[in-house]
């Protein structure tokens, strides 16, 4: 950037949301601040291209009025909220609608994600189904879930529980209901839009609904307030129990620490969607405040793709490659679901090199439709050079070109703990690292097992789930810490009703032994892959 550019006009909007009926009383005496962001970074006011999120510092009386108001909010049926969400989703997809316009204006400069990517992702909001989520929230898993996969109520797939301690396998009982939280406090990350909304929706499917306060992210503060506002336009009762605010934390002393402590002391359940360091800070604040809420942690996660040799045929690879490319491209690989390594089974009609080639071509096709926003080109070039050095030694193959806005390599180095970690950490900025494996069983045995179990999340699979080796493979992955198996191409639109970092919706209202759930999100993987491939083909054909 050349110094001395004249600042352009900057945009501001509310980075918070309070139900209309409560606003005047809650905001009385409040002071307002503006946080400026540009391309996922906090910047100084007046930075060219920056957007400003305005948010209030409430008075004690205002905060008390907020709690009282949220707790007194009327109940609203989940079905009504689901219908309203679909209405709002249609508005999001309509370029002529003011809601779409607001999102398209504010989010791209603030988050760095281009409008095309946001439009693609939000296009799937119409499929957001709250009824299955509510059903799962009311479900009591059978005790047999500790010993094997059991079917899910009204959903494709299955679930299994992996206890953290040996004793949890014993005994007849498993989960016992607890009183639904009266107050749910959430902390939302901003690397991907909508975490605060997700927290709010989880609260909305409980019966009775809790008061929900979500601590917004400065990195993406606009989306949830905009959507809640749109829902309120349809029926204020739908979101009368929800507020989205910004407050500072991590300061033990001083006014910020007091606000954090006050909020935490109100909570029956704290739901944290944040990095591991932030989660640790918040937990320290909980302890300091003398608060005793239940705590759900959604911290740093790493995810992978596993491709069986049965899928490495010309016909199936042509379906699969665009899905793997999509999983990589969406959110520029910044999501917890974003695959880091692609484990590809050798011995098929086609080789891992063919898979890499196909994914390269698929990324070239997808990139113009889903251009990168937060891809660090400099880092990408550095990785390109690093893998070329490996290639010079015969340890890797580089399939993409220097000027591609992504990187695709096949990595055949011997992996010790250090190189495995390096490879995983290198898989950013739309970097596909294909790792040939002699058999899929090697994935949990030689790789997943060597990683921190608490940081594993999704294994996106391309395989035949009807094959006898599938369930043992899924079981082994779950034992390592994988909390979700879904088919490739679905990283952009995860199912809310399934395991989210090892927690099911019913965990909001149940106590159970320490451990994690692993869900399989399909009955027939091949059929679901074909369905997803058809949708992606249709999207690409729209051009």
């Amino acid at each position: 950037m050349a110094i001395g550019e004249v600042p352009m006009e900057t945009l501001t909007a509310e980075g918070y949301w309070i139900p209309r009926a409560l606003r005047e009383r809650v905001l009385e005496g409040a002071t307002f601040e503006t946080t400026w962001g540009h391309h996922a970074r906090l910047v100084a006011p007046g930075t060219p291209g920056a957007t400003g999120a305005v948010w209030p510092r409430l008075t004690d009386a205002g905060r008390r009025a907020l709690w009282d108001g949220l707790r007194a909010a009327p109940q609203a049926p989940v079905a009504a909220l689901e219908a309203a969400l679909q209405q709002v989703a249609r508005r999001l997809a309509d370029p002529g609608d003011a809601l779409c316009g607001a999102v398209s204006t504010l989010l791209p400069p603030h988050t760095g994600y281009p409008a095309a990517m946001l439009g693609f992702a939000f296009g799937f909001f119409q499929e957001l189904a709250l009824t299955p989520l509510a059903r799962m929230a009311a479900w009591t898993p059978p005790a047999t879930v500790r010993r094997g996969f059991v079917p899910l109520p009204g959903l494709p797939g299955a679930v299994r529980f992996y206890p953290a301690r040996l004793g949890a396998w014993l005994g007849k009982g498993f989960a016992r209901p607890v009183a639904p939280p009266r107050t749910l406090v959430g902390f939302a990350s901003g690397n991907i839009p909508g975490a605060a909304l997700l927290i709010a929706l989880l609260g909305q499917v409980l019966d009775p609904r809790p008061a929900v306060i979500a601590r917004n992210s400065r990195r993406e503060p606009f989306f949830t307030p905009l959507l809640l506002g749109a829902l309120e336009e349809i029926d204020p009762a739908l979101v009368a129990n929800v507020a989205v605010l910004l407050w500072d934390y991590g300061h033990a002393d001083g006014p910020e620490g007091a606000v954090q402590a006050a909020v935490l002391r109100e909570a029956d359940l704290v739901l944290m969607v944040a990095g591991d360091t932030t989660i640790a800070e918040i937990e320290a604040d909980i302890h300091r405040a003398g608060a005793t809420p239940r705590v759900h942690r959604h911290g740093h996660k790493i995810s992978f793709i596993a491709v069986a040799r049965a899928l490495l045929t010309p016909e199936r690879l042509s379906l699969l490659a665009p899905l793997a490319a999509l999983d990589t491209a969406i959110w520029d690989q910044n999501g917890c679901l974003s695959p880091r390594l692609h484990f590809v089974e050798e011995g098929g009609r086609l080789a891992p090199e063919d898979y890499a080639l196909a994914v390269t071509e698929a990324l070239r096709a997808i990139s113009p439709r889903l251009p990168g926003g937060l891809v660090d080109v400099r880092r990408l070039h550095a990785r390109f050079d690093a893998f070329h050095a490996l290639a010079a030694g015969g340890r890797a193959t580089v399939h993409s070109a220097y000027d591609d806005p992504f990187l695709v390599v096949v990595d055949r180095r011997p992996y010790d703990a250090r190189t495995l970690a390096e490879a995983i950490n290198d898989a950013q900025d739309r970097t596909v690292i294909v790792r040939p494996v002699p058999a899929l069983a090697a994935v949990p045995r030689d790789y997943l097992r060597r990683l921190p179990a608490g940081n594993l999340q999704t294994l996106s699979v391309a395989l035949d789930s009807r094959a006898p080796e599938f369930l043992p493979f899924a079981g082994a992955a779950g034992r390592c810490g994988i909390t979700a198996l879904r088919t490739v191409g679905r990283a952009a639109f995860p199912g809310l009703a399934y395991s989210w970092d090892g927690l099911l919706p019913c965990d909001l209202v149940a106590a159970r032994p320490a451990g994690h759930y692993t869900t399989i999100e399909f009955d027939d993987a091949l059929a679901q892959i074909a369905e997803t491939a058809a949708r992606v083909r249709g999207w690409l054909a729209q051009g």
Partner: protein, 450 residues
């Protein structure tokens, strides 16, 4: 072609076309001769001839280029596979090496130092000197220079130090460094002072009493260890012991020796240039502060180099302040100046009285934006990159992009007289306080790092 000193008198507008045409010519010369460079260019669709528009694409990363042996060999211990390492070395150089030249190499060496010494022995006729980076990551860059290239480097360094800092041949040079080391800056100091006659006249001192070969540095940092039991011993026995010895023996002895030398120079009226890493010089300053400080003869100077590579409880600014408060020269605080350089470079950028680091006039320096494109402006904030066609030698193409984010003024052909440094030096310069390491790894949101 102008000699290096003549570049100081060339007007900026005359420098650019000379430098540019030299860069293009060097590319054409190295491309067919240097395998690694040719592969690098090929990966970017760059062929044997280029024009100005291709300049950004031929840059190689300093962070990787001379460390690529690790990726290619599959080990950070080339002493285990000398023949493979020799092959790697050969690909890095733009000279043809007859296979029999490698014949004296053994199948294994007990240390990296032994391997590098053996290589120097094989090519003693060509005057090979092999330098390493500081290796604080435990994985060192390894660079070969022949006599001509090394001589150019020494000329460049000492021309700069004389031009920028006024250090003459009568100044005593005290280096808070080991005499025996392969770290590029210290190696250049050793051989440069030898070449210029400082050694013969007894005007050089090295006050770190122990050698610092690359193996010792690797073990001390304890980040790259041998596998198995040997690595355990390195991590749990050797590294703690070496660090203890360093802190309790080498460092105090170095500080004492440096302070004694400085006192002697103060007493005899011998002007001094004291040079070392900031944290080491800080130790000297703190020791002298306990005895009331010291006044050195006029014209004395403190030079810092190497940056703050390891965690240290004081900032660079605090260190400079403490040095200036403790050491005086003439009637005021001693002048403290910094030098910026890197192992891969045959040049150094010396700090001027205005606090800016001036790049040598024979260097074509630019800043790269976030997409690795050259910023075409006289003031440019980005990653520093350079082309050194006259000072870089002929052994490998001296075109590199660094890992340092800088605010560069008057780089490349974009010279603006209005932005020239107030010190009067009409060369490109890095604005004071703007050199910052740009780490390549980062965390993003809920996507974790292992």
């Amino acid at each position: 072609m102008p000699t290096l000193p003549e570049f100081y008198t060339l007007p900026p507008d005359d420098r650019h076309p000379l430098l540019l045409s030299a860069v293009l010519a060097q590319h054409a010369w190295h491309y067919p001769r240097n395998t690694a460079y040719r592969n690098h260019c090929a990966s970017r669709d760059v062929g044997p001839t280029i024009d100005e528009n291709d300049l950004a694409r031929v840059l190689r990363p300093t962070a990787q280029t001379f460390k690529s042996y690790i990726a290619e060999l599959g080990t950070p211990f080339p002493q285990d596979c000398p023949a493979d390492f020799a092959r790697w070395v050969e690909t890095q150089l733009s000279v043809e090496i007859a296979p029999e030249r490698w014949a004296p190499l053994r199948r294994r060496y007990g240390s990296l130092e032994a391997l590098l010494a053996a290589l120097e022995q094989c090519f003693a006729g060509e005057g090979w000197r092999i330098a390493t980076s500081s290796g604080t990551s435990g994985r060192a860059s390894i660079m070969v220079r022949d006599a001509d290239t090394f001589s150019l480097a020494l000329d460049g360094f000492f021309l700069g130090i004389q031009h920028a800092w006024g250090i003459d041949l009568e100044t005593r040079l005290i280096f808070v460094m080991p005499r025996q080391t392969r770290i590029a800056m210290a190696q250049a100091a050793y051989f440069g002072t030898e070449k210029l006659g400082y050694v013969a006249r007894g005007l050089v001192d090295y006050t770190i009493p122990f050698p610092a070969p690359p193996d010792i540095i690797r073990i001390r940092t304890a980040r790259t260890l041998r596998p198995g039991v040997r690595g355990w011993l390195e991590q749990h026995i050797a590294a703690p012991l070496m660090n203890w010895l360093g802190e309790h023996m080498a460092l105090p002895r170095s500080i004492r020796a440096t302070a004694d030398l400085l006192r002697r120079c103060a007493a005899t009226g011998e002007k001094v240039m004291l040079f070392g890493a900031p944290n080491q010089l800080h130790g000297v300053a703190l020791a002298l502060r306990e005895t009331g400080g010291l006044t050195l003869p006029p014209g004395s100077l403190v030079g810092t180099g190497g940056g703050m590579k390891e965690a240290y409880p004081h900032t660079f600014a605090e260190i400079r302040r403490d040095i200036g408060a403790t050491l005086r020269s003439g009637n005021g605080p001693i002048t403290v100046r910094d030098v910026y350089g890197m192992a891969e470079a045959n040049w150094a950028a010396f700090e001027c009285p205005e606090g800016h680091h001036h790049l040598p006039p024979w260097l074509y320096a630019v800043a790269l934006d976030a997409t690795d494109a050259i910023i075409p402006a006289p003031d440019a904030e980005g990653i520093l990159a350079f082309y050194d066609p006259f000072g870089g030698g002929a052994l490998f193409p001296p075109f590199f992009k660094t890992t340092d984010r800088v605010y560069l003024i008057n780089g490349g052909p974009w010279y603006d007289p209005a932005r020239a440094c107030p010190c009067g030096e009409p060369t490109a310069y890095i604005v004071a306080g703007t050199i910052a390491r740009a780490d390549l790894l980062d965390e993003s949101g809920c996507a974790g790092q292992v």
